[in-house]
Subunit: 139 residues, 2 copies
C-alpha cells in the first residue's frame, strides 16, 4: 500500500495523478513561491532509487519528467529546467522538475538546501496548478 | 559537429562512449576524489534541456542513467544515488549520476556548488574508471 511521505505531503500540493497499468504517478507542486517546482512521485512502495523501478515504470516516470520540463519551460518562461532525483533527506523516490530563472533566489546554485521555503498564497498556488494542468493536457 | 564543452572536458575523464543510430553517449568520470561521480553527455549539438532530445535519444540517455546508477550503487557501496540534469553553469546537456555516502563531504546537501574539487590521483582515477567500465559491461 503506497503512502506519500509526510514531508513530501506537507511541502507540496496535488496537481494530478496519472498513469496506467505499469505505474501510477503523482505530480505535485512544491509549496514555495520562489520557484515553480514540481515533484513526480511514482506511487510504488519501498522504492528509493530510479534503477529500482522496473523498466516500464521507469520509462513512464521519465516520460512525465520530460513533459513536465517542457510545460514548466513554456508556462513560466524558464531560463533553465533542473531535473533531479536526489533523496538524501527523504528517501522515498521523487523526481524534482524545477523552472529556474537567472534572477531567482538561488541562481546559479541548486534549489535543494537553498534558503527558506516561502509558502505560496492560495491564489498563486491555484494559478500555477492551473497552468501546469493545462500544459499537461489533463494527462 | 558535436564538441564537448571545455569546462566538462577539463573537469572529467573519459570512461566510455556508446550508443547506436539514435544517439551517441559519452560517459565521463568527474575528476573529484570526494565523490564517485559520472556525467552522461548526449553527443548532440545545441541541446541544453532533456525535453529537447528526441524521444529515442532521451530514452537511450535515461537508460544509461539508470545503468550508471545501479553500477555506482554497487561498485562504491553508495548510500544513495543522486541523478540530475541541471546545467545552470554549463548549459550543454549533461546528466550527473553521483554515488553519495552518509559520511561524504557534502551529505546530505547536494554536490553541486559544494566546496572545492579535489583532483583524483592517477591510480584512483584508473581504479574508478575500471570498476565502472566493468560494471557497465563494456557497453
Amino acid at each position: 500500500m503506497f503512502r506519500l511521505h509526510p514531508t513530501l505531503e506537507k511541502d507540496s500540493l496535488p496537481v494530478l495523478e496519472t498513469g496506467g497499468p505499469d505505474v501510477r504517478l503523482a505530480v505535485r507542486l512544491i509549496d514555495d513561491a520562489r520557484f515553480p517546482w514540481l515533484l513526480i512521485v511514482p506511487m510504488v512502495e519501498n522504492v528509493t532509487e530510479l534503477h529500482e523501478l522496473d523498466a516500464q515504470a521507469y520509462a513512464a516516470a521519465m516520460d512525465m519528467a520530460r513533459r513536465c520540463g517542457a510545460v514548466l519551460k513554456d508556462a513560466f518562461a524558464a531560463d533553465k529546467i533542473n531535473t533531479a532525483a536526489i533523496g538524501n533527506m527523504v528517501a522515498q523516490l521523487h523526481i524534482h522538475v524545477v523552472a529556474r530563472s537567472r534572477d531567482d533566489a538561488a541562481w546559479p546554485g541548486p534549489v535543494w538546501g537553498a534558503g527558506t521555503m516561502q509558502r505560496l498564497d492560495p491564489g498563486e498556488a491555484e494559478r500555477r496548478i492551473g497552468l501546469i494542468q493545462r500544459g499537461l493536457g489533463g494527462a
